[in-house]
Amino acid sequence: MTFYDIIFYLFAIITVASAFIVVTTRNIIYSGFSLLFTFFGVAGIYVLLGADFLAIVQIMVYVGGILILLLFGVMLTNKITNVDIRTGTVHLLPAAIGVGILFGALTSVMVYTEWKSEPGEIPLTTTFSIGKELLTNYVLIFELLGILLLIALIGAASIARREKE
């Protein structure tokens, strides 16, 4: 068991345990903060896979953006002062059984399939190659995503600000 393996198991346990807390705890604020650790664990897994730029993007966008947005959503849609911020659950047992079957199927497919595994060469720092690919092969998608983000920004602002007549 090498050092790499120990680090992988550490991050995997952090990710899975905090994701489990996210979906099982009844307090929605605890869920939000567990999601923080899940995102950090996934960022660690990205680093182990040689994706350093992606790990930083994960932390900046998910933790710095999406998680803050979700916590704002929680705080704006719950009456924190008088009602407890617990969230109800429905269909616990059927959901657990169904998801268990799904997980068993997925895992057996992923473990028993003979993946064509030939470790390619990932450069030591990926920022240069990602930037080059984004502005050459993927430039159309890159521009479209820029437009999409602008549309999302305008759309979100106009939806959220609409007054009820």
Partner: protein, 103 residues
Amino acid sequence: MLQVGLAHFLVVSAILFSLGIYGIITRKNAVMVLMGLELILNAANINFVAFSKYGNLGINGQIVALFVIILAAAEAAIALAIVLNVYKTFANVNVDEINNLKD
């Protein structure tokens, strides 16, 4: 089995995906459903990056994962705007009680 390879990353991603599905199915609060959605997108991203390393795809898998992160950010913004509007109309965000499109 202890040597970490492609299958280990895929199994972690399968666990995250299943937990995300479980959260989406069982939670009433719309914001919690969004959290389950983020778990699923992260699981998909782990798969992209893992195959990018082990499948000799070079940097392409990481770029697709980058696009997924961007789309997740846009989706979260729009979804929360909709959730805020729903809250203004129905005074709660429980997805099992919201059953008409207009009042």
